[in-house]
C-alpha cells in the first residue's frame, strides 16, 4: 500500500513534464537545477520552444523562492540567545541546544563569533575617544634601550628581549613573559611614553589583532602601561589609540619565533 502511494506520488510528480515537446530528453532535476541558477545551454534552448517545460521550470523557481523567503532561518534561535551564550548566561541544557543548532548553521556561527569577539573586551573601553584617521602612525622598531629593559624586569620574569618602537612623539616598548595558562600562552607587556622628560604618559587603549580580527583590548593605565594576558603564540598587529592619534605596530611576534 505504502509502495503504491509512493508510486502514485512519483507518477504525479512526473506530470510536471508530461506535455514536453521532446519527452524524456530533460529530467525535472535539470529543470530545477536551471531554476537554481546552474548553467545549462541545451535546456535553455529547449525551453524557448517548449512552453510545458518553461512552465515547469518557472513553477520550480517560484516554489524555490517562496520556500526560501518563508523558511530562511526558521529554526535559528533569537539573536539574544546567542548573546547570552557568548556571555555564558544560558542554562547548561539551553546552551547545549543552542550549540547543537550552531554546529550546523553558518549564519548563527557568524553571529555568535562576532558577538563573542566583541563581548570579550571591557565595554567601557568603547568610550575612549577614537582619534582622527588622519593621525594614524606606523611605528618602526628601534634598538632596545636599557632603561626600558629595567622596567620590564620589574613586571615579572622576562622571556623575551624588549622591543622598542617609535612613531613621531610616541615610543612603545614591548616585552613578553610566559603566562600561567600553558607553555604556549604568553603575557604581552607594554609601556607607552611621550617623547621628552616632561611629557605626560599618554592615555588611551590598545587593541591586539590577529589576521584582521581584534582578539583583545586593554586600557593604558595612568603610567602608560598596558598588559595583554594569556595570549596564544602568533604574529599580531597592535593598535594603540591615544587622544589624537593611533599608533600601529604591525607584525608583533608573541611566543617563540616560528
Amino acid at each position: 500500500m505504502g509502495g503504491a502511494v509512493e508510486a502514485l506520488s512519483i507518477a504525479k510528480s512526473r506530470t510536471i513534464t508530461m506535455d514536453c515537446t521532446d519527452p524524456g530528453l530533460f529530467s525535472p532535476e535539470r529543470l530545477l537545477a536551471l531554476a537554481s541558477g546552474e548553467p545549462d545551454e541545451a535546456l535553455a534552448r529547449h525551453l524557448r520552444s517548449c512552453p510545458a517545460c518553461a512552465n515547469s521550470m518557472a513553477a520550480y523557481g517560484t516554489a524555490d523562492r517562496v520556500l526560501g523567503a518563508r523558511l530562511f532561518r526558521v529554526e535559528c534561535p533569537p539573536a539574544q540567545e546567542l548573546g547570552e551564550l557568548a556571555l555564558d548566561l544560558l542554562t547548561p541544557e539551553k546552551a547545549l541546544g543552542t550549540r547543537a543548532h550552531m554546529a550546523g548553521c553558518l549564519h548563527c556561527q557568524a553571529e555568535f563569533t562576532a558577538l563573542h569577539t566583541s563581548l570579550a573586551t571591557d565595554p567601557l573601553l568603547d568610550l575612549v575617544p577614537r582619534p582622527s584617521p588622519l593621525r594614524r602612525l606606523i611605528a618602526h622598531l628601534l634598538p632596545p634601550p636599557g632603561e626600558v629593559m629595567a622596567y620590564a624586569l620589574v613586571r615579572g620574569e622576562v622571556s623575551d628581549s624588549v622591543r622598542t618602537y617609535e612613531a613621531e612623539e610616541i615610543t612603545v616598548s614591548l616585552t613578553q613573559e610566559h603566562a600561567s595558562g600553558g607553555a604556549r600562552r604568553w603575557n604581552l607587556l607594554g609601556l607607552v611614553l611621550g617623547v621628552g622628560d616632561a611629557a605626560e604618559p599618554p592615555t588611551g587603549a590598545a587593541r591586539l589583532s590577529l589576521r584582521g580580527q581584534v582578539v583583545s583590548e586593554a586600557p593604558l593605565d595612568e603610567l602608560g602601561n598596558l598588559v595583554f594576558g594569556d595570549v596564544a603564540a602568533d604574529l599580531y598587529d597592535l593598535e594603540i589609540a591615544l587622544a589624537d592619534l593611533v599608533v600601529m605596530i604591525e607584525g608583533v611576534r608573541i611566543g617563540a619565533p616560528a
Binding site: S13, I16, L67, G68, A69, A79, Q80, G83, V128
Partner: protein, 232 residues
Amino acid sequence: MARGLDIRELARSCQEETERYLRGETFREAFCFELFRRAIVERDDAAWAGVYAQYSSLARIWLKARMDEDEGVNAAFERFWRALDATKFARFGSLAAILSYLKMCVQTTVLDHLRAQRQGATEVDLAEVQALQARDTVEGEVGGKLDAVDLWRRVRDTLRHDRERRVIYLSYAIGLTPREIHARHGGEFPHLEEIYRLKRGAIDRLRQAAALHGFFTASDRERNENSDRRRL
C-alpha cells in the same frame, strides 16, 4: 557607601567615576553598579533614567550607525530591561559584566534588525503571492494563514524521508544551493545529482500536499498570471 546615596548623588558619582576611568585614573565602579542595581532589582524609575542618561551615548557607539539611532538605543534598553530581573542581576559580579550585557542587547538588537531587513526584502517579492492567497477563499485559506513556524512544521510532516527533510532544511532554512550543500556537506551528500533528486522530489511532494495546497496554488497562479501579462 554607594548604597547610602540618593539617586541624584549616585548618578553624579557614576558620571565622575566614568570620567576618571576615561582619564586612565583609578576608577571606583560601585556607584555605577549601584545605579544599575536600583534600576533593575528595585525597578526604580529614577535610577533607570539615570542609567539611560549615563549609558545611552555608549549604546550609540555600540550601535555603530547600523540602524536608526533612537530606535536602536530605545529597543536595546527595552530588551535589557525586560531580560533582567533580580535573580539574573545577582549573576553580575561587576560593572563590566552588566555593561557587557547591555552591549550584547545593543548588538542583538542590530542583528535582529538585520535579520528582519533580509526577511523584508524577500517579503517584497512575495507581496503578490500573498495578495493572491488573501483573495483566494478556499485554497488560499491554508497558505495565507501560515507563518514560518507553521509552514515549517507542515513541511516536515509532509516529507517522510529524513534525507529529503535534510536537503529542504539546508536549502531553505540555511539558504544553501545544491552545489553549496554538496561542497559543505559532501560526506553526507557525496553526489550533487542526489541533492537535486531529493530536492526536486521534496518540492513535488510539497506542491501536492493537502496541508500546503493553498500555499503553492497561489504561487502557481501568480506565475501564470505574470506569464499571461508578459504574453499580452
